[in-house]
Structure formats: C-alpha cells, structure tokens
C-alpha cells in the first residue's frame, strides 16, 4: 500500500492543479490578513471559502484523477499487490495531496502571522484540520462513486450531484422543513439533519470553536444548547470521521468485487 501511496503522491504533488489550488488558498489567506480588521473576520472568511471550495475541488480532483488513472490501476493490478492495497494507496495519496495543498496554502500565512504577531493566531489551527478532513470526506465519497460507475460521464455527473446536494439542495430542503414544522420543537431534528451533511457538520464545528453566537443559526444554537460546546465539538468531529469510515468501507467492498 505505501509504495502505491508514495508514487501517487509523487505524481500529484507535481501536478499543476495541486499547485494552483494551494496557491489560491495562499493568496486568499494573505489577502484576508492584509485587509481584515480582526482575526475573527479572517477565520470566518476562510471558513466560508473552505466550506464551499474544499468539497468542490475534492470532488473534481478525485473524479478526474480516478478516471485518468484507470489504466494505471490496471498496471498495478498486474503486479503482486492486493486489490485493496492498490485502492487504499491511491486514495490515501489523493487525500494526502489535497490535504497538503490546504495545509501549505492556508497554514503558511497563518504560521507566519502567529510568529510575527504573536497573539493567539495558532489557536485557529482547527480551521486547517477541518479543511483537511472535509476534503478527505468528499474525496472518499467521490472515489466510492467513481468505483461504482465505469462510465466516466455518469461518474462525474453523480459526483457533482452529490456535491450540489450537500452544498445547496440539502440546506434548501432543511430550511423548508424548518418553516413547515415551525410550530413544533424541532431542535433535535435539526441536530440529526446536521449530522447527515458533512458540510453542515464542518460549519457547526468551526462555529462552536469560534463561539460567535450571532453566526450560529438554528443548528449551531441547538447543538450548543443540547450538547454544550465541548460535547458538541466532539460529536460533530466524530460524525465527520464516521462519514469517512462509512465511505471507506464502501470503497473496500467495491474494490473487492469490481471488474477492472
């Protein structure tokens, strides 16, 4: 597995797309630091960018990498390697490259600022963690979809639909549901629905760390009211990891029985 991982990372870190992605984060972070009056504004600006961009870029990156490397998977399958090791190695290489782009792009300006300005900037490192995890969650889900569909167009279509669903449609349905059921106590339902969407989970997690109640919205407030900041943070974080675990199991099952 680690040999496949190594060469996947070699390949991807030299890709101009990885570089462009990291550069974008870098420019944005520098820009936000330069023009925002407070660190909270920087963090909120970055949060909104990450929540929108990380899933979308992960989706595109993963789906195009999977279909471009199909012949390479065949080549690896001809070597004395287990199917699951090949798939795991590639997946891990993919998520590592996306993660490195986030870490370098956002992390470098953050590190520089916390070294020069001192202060508590380092305490916002959770933003990086969420960036990496949210990227990985979408990478895993999309890899699973790509394994399922041999047809490239279908794979890309379904992946984008999944992204669109979690990024836009889900919130719309959520909102409609809340309006429709506004006469009932729906806080628990709101929490449950949040747990089912990795993007919402990430948002709530970040807001809980920031503790800006004005930005909480209903779900954030419900999570805080029912679980408290600490338990709420742990619960949302664990739910994010569960998303990864679930897709990972799906990928393993699919990899074992698939015809390549």
């Amino acid at each position: 597995m680690w040999k496949v991982f190594k060469y996947t990372v070699y390949d991807l870190l030299r890709s101009k797309w990885t570089f462009a992605y990291a550069l974008f984060y870098f420019a944005l972070t520098v820009f936000l630091f330069a023009f925002s009056s407070s660190i909270t504004k920087v963090v909120v600006g970055l949060m909104n960018t990450i929540l929108l961009l990380a899933p979308l870029v992960s989706t595109f990156f993963t789906v195009s990498y999977y279909y471009n490397s199909k012949d390479f998977v065949l080549f690896l399958l001809a070597q004395p390697l287990k199917r699951t090791d090949i798939i795991r190695g590639m997946l891990l290489g993919l998520t590592a490259s996306l993660g490195i782009a986030v870490l370098v792009g956002i992390g470098m300006p953050f590190a520089y600022m916390s070294l020069t300005q001192g202060s508590s900037i380092a305490s916002y490192a959770f933003l990086l963690v969420i960036g990496v995890i949210l990227s990985s969650v979408f990478s895993f889900i999309v890899y699973w979809i790509a394994l399922r569909f041999d047809d490239k167009l279908k794979g890309i279509g379904v992946s984008l639909l999944v992204w669109l669903f979690f990024a836009v449609i889900y919130d719309a349905i959520f909102l409609l549901l809340l309006i429709y059921l506004r006469d009932y106590p729906i806080e628990k339902l709101a929490i449950a629905l949040t747990l089912l969407n990795p993007i919402d989970l990430s948002r709530v997690f970040i807001l809980l760390q920031l503790d800006i109640s004005a930005l909480f919205g209903l779900t954030g407030a419900s999570v805080k009211a029912f679980l408290g900041s600490t338990t709420g943070s742990i619960a949302t974080f664990v739910a994010l990891l569960l998303w990864m675990l679930l897709s990972y199991i799906g990928i393993t099952v699919m990899a074992k029985k698939k015809d390549f």
Partner: protein
C-alpha cells in the same frame, strides 16, 4: 502452467465469454486472435485477476488464483493494451517503481532493452510528454524486465516502428528459448504466422479454434492464414449482419 476450467463471464446483459476451457502446459508462444470485442482482453485480464469470472475457475501452477491472493502475479508479467502511467512521473521513476514492486529484475536485459529501443534519451522526460510509440516501448520494457514464468502481452505491436517491432520479436523469441510461457493477443496476422506455436481463435466469446497453425491449415485448407481468418470472421459477421437487416 495455466488452466482455464469452463470460464464464463457476463457484464450485465452481455455474455462476453462462454464456457472457455484451455489447458496450457507446454512452454512457448500462444497467440490469441479474434475480431474486436470478441473477449480477448477480458480473457487476459481474467488471468491477472482484474476481471472476476462469473463461473468457472483459473488455475495457475495448479493453484486457484482466487484463493492464492496476489502472490502468483510475481510470476506473471503483463503488458496492457493501452499504456497509461501517472503523467507526472518519468520513465526512470516507473522503472524504479516496478523494481520496488516486484524485486525480481533482470538488470542486464533491462539495460539491453533501453539501448535496443533507444529509450535512454527519453527516460527523464515526464510520461505525458512521450509519444504513443515511445510509451508502448516503455511498456514493453516494464513487462520484460521482470523475471517471470508467464508473459502476457495485449497487442504489443501497437504503434511500434519497424525497427522496434523487429526488436520486440527478438525479445519474444529470446523468452521462448528460455522456456517461458508467452501469451500474445494481436490482430497482425503475419506476426502470428511468424511466431505462434499455438493459436487460440476466439469468436463471440467461445474458443473457436485451439491448436497449431499446421492443424488450422489441415482443417481449413491450404489458403494463407490471413484468408482463413478473414473467411471465418466474415462468415460470423455476415450472419449477424443478415439478421440485423
């Protein structure tokens, strides 16, 4: 060495292979021919465990390949039909990777092949900057640099210039001399005539003919191999053609 026991494969509604049984115990060159879409590549992929049979089993050295894990593949070397490698890696890195993955490398032959195929000047270029023919040559090098008992080559002549084709033939014959099993799928009939010890003719997923060239001529008359193959394929295509009209 290799035994296919009543192999069938279906992809959804399409039956790709139907009850194929082959026993291959004599070293030498077996050539797989058949029209496009007859199931040649699927058959080769099955040998490598990439495609799983719907029914039947495959024995490699007496062992069921579904039960023996991936270890048997260190004894089988494969040249895929379309060579596609991670585009940002160089040829040298790919060779290094195969060395790490397999370990059992013939360094003398590797050096000789890099010279023979004139690949040395291309080794440090990224794969995405290589031409189709150069990629094919690199694929051949990656397949033959391994010490294996069986070599599986899916359309190895694709995109090769005459000199490289000549060199490829030399390599294949050298492996035959060493007592290896070489399985080649191809559409190039003169190439078949030159090197085949045994011919496997697949039509619509079934083994239509399995035997030596001489045996094929005995059965279908003294015509050239090209004519025989064309005639057989035509009769099949002709039938389906009439039906579809």
């Amino acid at each position: 060495m290799i035994e296919l026991l009543d192999i069938s494969k279906r992809f959804g509604k399409t039956q790709v292979l139907k009850n194929i049984s082959i026993s291959w115990q004599e070293p030498g060159i077996m050539v797989l021919v058949g029209p496009n879409g007859s199931g040649k590549t699927t058959l080769l992929k099955m040998l490598l465990g990439m495609v799983l049979p719907s029914s039947g089993k495959i024995l490699f050295d007496g062992q069921d390949i579904r039960k023996s894990g991936a270890a048997y593949k260190s004894n089988i070397s494969y040249l895929p039909q379309l060579a596609h490698y991670p585009e940002n890696l160089s040829g040298r890195e790919l060779i290094q990777m195969v060395k790490e993955l397999r370990g059992n490398i013939n360094q003398e032959l590797l050096n000789r092949m890099l010279k023979g195929f004139q690949l040395e000047s291309h080794l440090d270029k990224k794969v995405k900057h290589l031409s189709g023919g150069t990629l094919q040559k690199l694929g051949i090098v990656l397949a033959f640099m391994n010490e294996a008992a069986v070599y599986v080559l899916d359309e190895p002549t694709n995109g090769l210039d005459p000199l490289s084709l000549f060199y490829l033939k030399k390599l294949i014959l050298e492996k035959r001399e060493e007592g290896k099993y070489i399985l080649i799928s191809t559409h190039i009939i003169p190439f078949v005539e030159e090197i085949a010890d045994r011919l496997l003719f697949i039509l619509e997923g079934s083994a239509f003919f399995d035997g030596t060239l001489a045996h094929l001529r005995d059965t279908y008359g003294e015509a050239s191999l090209e004519e025989i193959v064309a005639k057989v394929m035509e009769s099949q295509i002709g039938m389906t053609h009439v039906e579809s009209i």
